[in-house]
Symmetry: C2
Subunit: 294 residues, 2 copies
């Protein structure tokens, strides 16, 4: 991992984790609601989406400070989606990153509302942030709402639920990942580019790059799940398999999945090469996604 | 009820009900998700919030056509809040307006996601609508996100949950109503004014007017619940009472609640008088809210 990439995945992470609870603390809202919101924001994670926002901004030669509010907003949306996914009616998970899930601590009703509140506040944060023009803020709302909604993350989640215990085609599996996780990853990159004032041509190429990167991320997760060391990735090996879930290695075999990963990596690099920016950082990220061991 | 007001509460309602499902039908999203979204949008209701958006626009002398997208978006947010409120973890209601609630028909998981999707899509609709400037659209997102979030509707819902089976003060009761229902009613009026290009002074006076109107609405609901005819209002008289809920008549007595209603009505008229618009329609609405029998 390059030095600059390490900076984005470590130091930026710390800064984001400092800022996230501060946004909530200052709200005039019931204390228990704020506690439930902050609890899940503080629950850790790699903070990949904020890193993508800021790395893209940096790659366009702009100061990363301009992107922290949007980075926090997108992490709030990711957190809301995890709180709702974990609910008894959905995945019914008791633990998330080794800590009790939101509804185990605060009860189902407050967990639903904490998710709703995080999501709503994220749009308020974007729409009211300083130093970015109205036009850019509106583009951010458009991009992020589309990525999170029925045609994006929520649609992907519904398709995932409906696909459970069914054998899916590769296209169906790609649809699920593209929308359930890919669209918000892509929106993170595009958000950085919007703040940086990228041209519409650059936005188009970055969107194609981001789509490949999102698929790479998921295929690599599936591969790690099969061959990874249980201690390294922190969950029982083959846990998705036990769920009778369609995965890339299940559909294509392990070698087939690895070939697929490389295919998407080549395409990602191709699209990235067309963007008028310093490509080094996102290139390092692309390699990291393909080669990481956890 | 004046002729013009009747138009807003009947003909506008029909137009809104025609448009609501069309927005969802055209989405590229899983069919079951779209069905769950449309089911609750089609479940009826007075469509008060859309009427407020459009009546305000009209009062500023602007064409109502400019406001239909925002009116639909706000009705989607109201609908999302009802779907989540009805969930087993929340109010656990089987019926809403005489029809099975969303989770009774589609299951809890899809009901949660249909709510999430309606809410998300409402922001996309506002941010992408035609014929309104970026600045105005951004103001709409700010206003509506604040009214729906932790400092608005979600905060009010949490306070309402926490206040159940407790005896509340009048201030606590007002906090709940102001945020749980009042903020989105107010945002409806302000949204009409934003589209119309109202001055910030007019926005301030309208906001104070809207706050009084929202409280009037709730106090009148409480009064009707005590003295209304069960057939007219369509639910068992005193049903909130049976819930051991704090209401205005419980806290102030029936006469006290009526006096309170008149107090807020006077204040509402006072604030409205300061707004540079044709006040006739919103004045008729104010009288209607105080005098309606259901």
């Amino acid at each position: 991992m390059g030095e600059q990439l390490r900076y984005f995945l470590t130091e930026i992470k710390e800064k984001i984790e400092e800022q996230l609870p501060r946004h909530i603390d200052k709200l005039a809202a019931p204390q228990t609601l704020k506690e439930a919101m902050v609890y899940s924001l503080n629950a850790g994670g790699k903070r990949v989406r904020p890193a993508l926002v800021l790395a893209t901004l940096k790659s366009f030669g702009k100061p990363v400070d301009d992107g922290f509010d949007v980075a926090c907003a997108i992490e709030m949306i990711h957190t809301y989606s995890l709180i709702h996914d974990d609910l008894p009616a959905m995945d019914d998970d008791d633990l998330r990153r080794g800590k009790p899930t939101n509804h185990k601590v605060f009860g189902e009703a407050l967990a639903i509302l904490a998710g709703d509140a995080l999501f709503t506040y994220s749009f308020e944060l974007i729409a009211t942030m300083q130093g970015v023009s109205a036009e850019k803020k509106l583009l951010l709302v458009q991009e992020i709402a589309k990525a999170s909604g029925p045609e994006g993350m929520v649609g992907g989640q519904v398709a995932d639920m409906e696909g459970e215990n069914q054998s899916l085609s590769i296209d169906e599996l790609m649809y699920i990942h593209e929308h359930k996780t890919g669209d918000l990853l892509s929106a993170s990159i595009i958000s950085g580019a919007i703040i940086a004032g990228a041209t519409s041509n650059d936005l188009i190429n970055l969107k194609m790059f981001a789509k490949e990167l999102g698929l790479m991320f998921q295929i690599k997760d599936d591969i790690l799940d099969v061959e990874g060391d249980a201690e390294t990735i922190g969950k029982p090996i083959g846990s998705d398999d036990g769920n009778n879930k369609s995965t890339y290695p299940n559909l294509l075999g392990l070698d087939g999945a690895k070939a697929k990963l490389n295919e998407h990596k080549d395409k990602a690099r191709e699209h990235l090469a067309k963007v008028n920016m310093d490509q080094q950082l996102l290139l390092a990220l692309t390699n990291y996604v393909a080669e990481r061991d956890h």
